[in-house]
């Protein structure tokens, strides 16, 4: 070797050694081998349970999505992607779904994940206790077969179009059979100290303060996860959640926990990043009590539609972060919107016409009770604007903000209201979350309390839920809008647009349409 070669070699070696040393001394190596950093997210209260198989509470889902997994996850286009299922086949009639399950997956306590867990979860937990899935599985008469440890076959008595879309961790989390079998599931220890297959393990629940998760060292999707810890800080005061992002105490705050008035300011903040407008659709609406003297007449409901200034609600209530309602199912699912009968065409803002319609309906000036959940500030603002709109056409509206429990009782159990302001989450498909708004219902909460019952509508809704192809479904929903936009048992005010905010130190967020899902790929710089 010449002298020059020796020097070059030596320098390269030295540089290599320095670089290696630099990497080793890099600050912020987490406690868990391979895990790096702690991300702190905000929630507003202790969740009622940490078992997503028995509750659709938002915080429950937020935390459970890091601990549990399901057969699939939804990307930003809402297309199902493999998770615990590596592949699947649907029969052409939509009545059989066959899933190949991932091998080599273990629960956080070391036991292996098998098809028996899937069968148990669907039959004993979801089918009996899950607020969304129980009714679906019952009406489908679903039976699960497990020909071997890594195959699950679902046999349904009818087709169900959103079947795959609903197989997410929020509606179909897979729970460990060995910890729940034979127990009273809501009271089981694993409902408070969950054991899942996901990237993070439950560590501790400091009631009133926080919930801590640590890295799952044996996660199947190596080398993920990248974080050492995820902490959910309980921040009861909404204003302090946005403040927390700015002081650095919080790294991520979901739209659900963010007060809307703070969003424009946070979206302009250079140290923060956000994702707007990609979300599972949800609609905010005013539901009429069609059994009340005033709103028994369709003309009275249509008069309200012509008097309520929906673009103004979007501007003032949601700070422009929403889309004015266009029809019975909003426009979150573009494929079903029927532009011919949209609200813009049928109910343009026109106080004079509205007054005329109201007279035609024979409104006698009696006060209208508008009931809503007092704890939701957007509903308060909505109520005030709508009251003003209706006063302009001669309607006397009395606002009744009620505590949530009381509101649920008054609206859904007793049906003592004239108008109620609510919002419904679609959960990924109109057949999952919007059917309950218009189908004939006599009991239960968070569904159709308007008293509206139309057999033709029920028939179309049922068919739209089972029809296998998108075009047929679109035609059915469009036909439904012809009827519902005319009858107006509920007036859709706007389509929700979410804005999720995080500090710029965090990366890898928001790969799913639901901001709570898919945290295995999240990283944080600096700590």
């Amino acid at each position: 070797m010449t002298r020059i070669d020796k020097l070059a070699f030596g320098r390269r070696q030295a540089l290599g050694a320095l670089a290696f040393a630099g990497l080793a001394l890099r600050p912020g190596l987490g406690h868990a081998a391979g895990g790096n950093g702690t991300v702190v997210a905000a929630i507003d209260n202790d969740p009622p349970t940490l078992n997503p198989g028995i509750s659709t509470d938002y915080a429950t889902g937020e935390i459970a999505a890091k601990i549990y997994e399901s057969l699939v996850w939804l990307d930003v286009e809402s297309t199902p992607q493999p998770s615990l299922a590596t592949s699947w086949e649907a029969a052409p009639d939509g009545r059989t779904y066959s899933f190949k399950l991932r091998q080599g997956v273990t629960w956080h306590d070391g036991k292996p994940f098998t098809a028996a867990d899937v069968k148990f979860t669907f039959e004993e937990v979801l089918g009996k206790l899950h607020p969304r899935m129980a009714a679906v599985l019952k009406s489908l008469g679903a039976v699960i077969e497990t020909p071997d440890d890594h195959t699950a076959v679902f046999r349904l008595q009818r087709g169900y179009a959103p079947f795959l879309v609903q197989m997410t961790v929020f509606d179909a989390p897979i729970l460990p059979k060995h910890l729940f079998e034979g127990t009273n599931i809501p009271a089981a220890p694993a409902s408070q100290a969950p054991v899942g297959t996901g990237p993070f393990k439950f560590q501790e629940w400091n009631r009133g303060a926080n919930i801590r998760l640590t890295r799952n060292e044996n996660y199947w999707d190596k080398p993920k996860p990248y974080l050492a810890e995820v902490v959910f800080q309980i921040v009861p005061q909404a204003a302090n959640r946005s403040a927390g992002l700015q002081t650095g105490e919080l790294d991520v705050v979901s739209d659900f926990y963010m007060p809307k008035p703070d969003l424009p300011r946070l979206m302009r903040d250079a140290s923060l990043q956000n994702r707007q407008g990609i979300n599972i659709p949800a609609i905010w609406f005013a539901m009429f009590n069609t059994k009340s003297p005033v709103f028994a007449q369709k003309e009275a409901r249509q008069a309200v539609a012509m008097a309520v200034d929906r673009p103004r609600l979007v501007q003032q209530v949601m700070r422009g972060i929403a889309r004015p309602g266009v029809g019975a199912f909003g426009d979150g699912f573009k494929w079903l919107v029927n532009a011919d009968v949209s609200y813009d065409k049928k109910y343009p803002l026109d106080a004079a016409k509205a007054k005329a319609l109201l007279e035609k309906a024979g409104y006698d000036g009696s006060p209208i009770r508008m009931v809503f959940d007092a704890a939701r500030p957007q509903l308060r603002s909505e109520a005030q604007i709508i009251r003003e709109n209706l006063r302009a056409i001669g309607m006397d509206v009395q606002l009744e903000p009620l505590e949530r429990s009381v509101m649920l009782d008054r609206v859904f159990a007793k049906r003592e209201f004239d108008i109620t302001l609510q919002s419904f989450f679609s959960a990924g498909d109109p057949a999952i979350g919007y059917t309950r708004l218009y189908a004939t219902t006599t009991s239960g909460t968070n569904n159709n309390a308007s008293g509206y019952s139309n057999p033709k509508v029920d028939e179309l809704l049922a068919e739209a839920a089972t029809a296998p192809d998108r075009d047929r479904r679109a035609a059915l929903y469009k036909e439904l809008q012809v009827i519902l936009n005319e009858d107006l048992p509920s007036l859709v005010l706007f389509d929700e647009e979410t804005v999720n905010v995080a500090t710029k130190r965090v990366s890898g967020l928001w790969s799913s349409v639901d901001a709570r899902d898919r945290w295995a790929g999240v990283r944080i710089q600096g700590n």
Partner: protein, 326 residues
């Protein structure tokens, strides 16, 4: 006051407290039971609960029994020391409360200490230098401080010290990222305690300063003070040994009386600062209709108020030099 008479006094007062506490329990139970809404719908989330699920949970919690049956069962349990089981938290109530009690005690006692020590000191200084700018300052704090809502002050403190200056944290009672151990951990914890304790104490600080100042001024004009001064006693000795001791009675009454309010006010401060205490637990248990937790906390607060009033009375009689048999 003689020891025997004192003991009788205490026993009599405690006996009076028993029917009072009984009424508190029964009245609150009935009020809560009469309120619409039930714990199950809160548990389930925002979709309709599956039929049968509601009945199952109600049976589990004994909510399917008529109200008077539930009340009698509850009273029976309380008398044996069993405070029941929390629906919302799925834990025995006593475990839940003990876990959160420490946080509230820490906050309220710190606030009480701050309010008392600073309030008395300011009141004394204002009386000592009556008419000076210090006196005007203290009087100013005393009148405005009492009118400032504590939760508003809390938000203001967060704005100034957490957001603008970045000196102190805005939320919680401990660091969630790598909490230090030992002494460093304790000091770190104090950083979290400072703002909420300050916000909670301010009103009472103002009140105590005002009462102390007024009481001191009254006492300072008495003959025995003149006598003490003419005997050559130092000003400090006059202020503390002679004047304060005589002025203490109304001040102690105010402090003891306000303990109940500080305890109640802690709920708001705990919400503003995310402090995991009993106040917030009470508020949450009300919205979730978690009856066992609500009842237990109300009972605990009632007992505390009764005991605090009793302690105040005893202290009154003990320190008042004009006391004697009454």
């Amino acid at each position: 006051m003689r020891a025997g008479a004192l003991m009788w006094f205490v026993v009599r007062r405690l006996l009076h407290a028993v029917p009072l506490l009984f009424c508190v329990v029964v009245l609150n139970f009935v009020l809560i039971a009469a309120t619409p809404g039930d714990p199950v719908t809160i548990l389930v989330g925002d979709f309709p609960a599956p039929p049968g699920y509601v009945e199952q949970v109600k049976r589990e919690f004994g909510l399917d029994q008529p109200v008077y049956v539930q009340l009698v069962r509850y009273l029976g349990h309380v008398l044996t020391g069993d405070l029941g089981y929390s629906f919302a938290n799925r834990q025995p109530v006593s475990t839940l409360i003990l876990g959160r009690l420490a946080a509230t005690l820490e906050l309220t006692l710190t606030a009480l200490l701050l309010a008392s020590l600073l309030g008395i000191a300011l009141g004394m200084l204002a009386a000592r230098w009556r008419g000076s700018w210090l006196d005007s300052g203290v009087q100013g704090i005393a009148s405005t401080g009492y009118s400032i809502p504590d939760f508003w002050l809390g938000q203001l403190l967060i704005l100034v010290f957490s957001i603008w200056l970045g000196w102190l944290p805005s939320q919680g009672n401990m660091s969630v990222r790598g909490a230090p151990e030992g002494i460093a951990g304790f000091l770190d914890h104090l950083r979290y305690l400072l703002l909420p304790a300050l916000a909670l104490s301010f009103r009472y600080l103002a009140l105590i300063a005002r009462i102390t100042r007024a009481a001191m001024l009254e006492v300072l004009s008495a003959d025995f003070i003149l006598a003490a001064r003419s005997r050559g006693a130092s000003e400090t000795s006059v202020m503390i040994t002679h004047a304060l001791r005589n002025a203490a009675a109304p001040v102690i009454t105010v402090i003891g009386y306000n303990l109940g309010f500080i305890l109640a006010g802690s709920a708001l401060i705990e919400t503003v600062f995310g402090w995991p205490g009993i106040g917030r637990l009470l508020f949450d248990s009300i919205s979730r209709r978690d009856y066992p937790v609500m009842m237990a906390i109300l009972l605990m607060v009632s007992v505390t108020v009764v005991l605090a009033n009793l302690a105040t009375d005893i202290l009154h009689r003990a320190i008042d030099p004009r006391g004697g048999d009454r």
